[in-house]
Symmetry: C2
Subunit: 146 residues, 2 copies
């Protein structure tokens, strides 16, 4: 059995300085770390890492070639619809591409998407079914009884 834990998500990016500037403009402050080859952001329960795309592939000993949809979305949940609109507008001011303006969505929430400089998708969402806890983390129903 593995502990039910996700410690870090690392994005392989084409230009670390560019990506770091973008995320810092959004308001994320990186950990002080003495290397130009990596950035780490404490994201309130999980770490976001930025690392070179090819270096990440090499570390995992996989081929670096890839294109198109990455099949991954990161989500930043906020407390209400206005906060979602404001966040997307701010991200656009920071150079994000708005992939989908926020709208009411089928699952009962309100969300939109922006893309970072490498096209990574971030959903910005208000989810009335999963209120944020006092630490700003998403609450889920418990697992089914076994």
């Amino acid at each position: 059995m593995l502990p039910q834990r996700l410690t870090m998500i690392t994005l392989g990016v084409s230009n670390i300085a560019r990506s770091a500037s973008f995320y810092e403009a959004l308001g994320f402050r990186p950990a002080e770390f003495d290397s130009p080859d990596v950035r780490f952001f404490d994201m309130n329960g999980v770490v976001l890492g930025l690392y070179g795309h090819d270096a990440l592939a090499k570390d995992a000993t996989v081929e670096p070639q890839g294109q198109g949809f990455r099949g991954v979305a990161l989500a930043l949940n906020l407390a209400n619809e206005q906060a979602v609109d404001d966040a997307l507008a701010f991200a656009e001011d920071c150079g994000a591409e708005i992939k989908k303006p926020a709208e009411k969505v089928f699952w009962g929430g309100y969300s939109g998407y922006f893309a970072d400089p490498d096209g990574r998708l971030w959903e910005v969402a208000f989810n009335p079914h999963s209120p944020l806890d006092e630490n700003g983390r998403m609450t889920l129903p418990p697992p089914a009884a076994q």
Copy 2:
């Protein structure tokens, strides 16, 4: 400014039941949720979502085509090297493909990689520079003073 927060990471997968079975075999218990189209796992500070690959693209209004390296790695940090070896062996028993057996790595830690049924990379690591806190989360140096 956006709050420095990452609420959820959603993986777009080709077969939700297959992926859910894999992650449950690893030991992750999904939140009880009455839909066959999505799974949510509380990952100790961030939520891991499983959703259909094409449905995720559609939700973000992007084209679903994509192939090759996804440029993303998820990491599960553990307390020592033996725990890393044990976790990789267990993941392999659960059907994971071992992409890289654990070894000492250049940054001073010990890590290996497995891939889930869609080829998503998970790094399993021991990082002596970033000990896990009492909640099992990675500790980082603080941001630089501004």
